[in-house]
């Protein structure tokens, strides 16, 4: 349970930035 909490919390911290990066790359590629 503890590992799950830490894993989820770490994802909450790090993934939005990664997702944003990928979203930007995708939108730029679409634009091109």
């Amino acid at each position: 349970f503890d590992e799950l909490i830490v894993e989820t919390a770490t994802k909450r911290k790090q993934w939005p930035k990664k997702i944003l990066m990928h979203a930007i790359q995708t939108m730029k590629a679409e634009q091109e």
Binding site: F1, D2, I5, V6, T8, A9, T10, R12, K13, P16, K17, Q31
Partner: protein, 204 residues
């Protein structure tokens, strides 16, 4: 009983506060047990130097257990209080605090509908831009065509100008007038010729 997973704290610290306290509790407890064992072994070693004393290892063990039980009881109570304080005051993120990585949540609290509307607007702008870009291309293509067409038409006008210049160079200022004059003169000459022919007939 509900458990507070302290997930937001885990997001900041990288570990759950409860697990941190558990790790500390286990470590402290282990040290306590270890120290008690050391105490017991030291006493037993010292007793070897007193062969006449009637103290058995069993009695020492009983003493150790008694003291350890007492210490463990106080240890648990004190640790419980320490844990409570640390979880409330130190390893805790107050309710009014937003972690830096989540600042956007307060700056841009977009609902599903608002987000969809924003995406739709962007899509529409992209479509409009595409349309404008196509229109621009078409306009520039027409501009090129116009240049070619204008050039051809101007050539034709120049040809007309050229024709009139030739007539002027050969003494015909106004071609229409000279042509009319020529036609008139031809008519006069024809009339004179006719007159001369008739007079000549009369004379004969």
């Amino acid at each position: 009983m509900s458990v507070n997973p302290m997930a937001y704290e885990a997001q900041f610290f990288g570990f759950t506060p409860q697990t941190c306290m558990l790790r500390v509790y286990i470590a402290f407890q282990d040290y306590l047990f270890e120290m008690m064992l050391v105490v017991e072994s030291v006493i037993l070693k010292k007793l070897v130097g007193f062969p006449d004393c009637k103290i058995s290892p069993f009695q020492i063990r009983k003493s150790t257990e008694k003291f350890l039980l007492f210490m463990k009881d106080h240890f648990d109570k004190l640790f419980s209080k320490m844990e409570e304080v640390l979880l409330q005051l130190v390893l805790n993120i107050p309710e009014n605090v937003l972690l830096p990585e989540d600042k956007v949540q307060e700056q841009y609290p977009y609902s599903k509908e608002q987000f969809q509307a924003l995406q739709d607007e962007i899509r529409q702008l992209q479509q409009q831009y595409k349309a404008e870009a196509s229109a621009g291309q078409a306009l520039r293509a027409e501009l090129e065509e116009q240049k070619a067409v204008q050039a051809e038409l101007e050539k034709i006008l120049q040809w007309f100008d050229g024709l009139e210049n030739i007539c002027r160079e050969h003494g015909t200022g106004n071609f229409k007038e000279s042509f009319a004059f020529l036609t008139q003169n031809s008519k006069k000459l024809q009339d004179v010729l006719k007159e001369v022919e008739e007079k000549s007939k009369k004379i004969k």
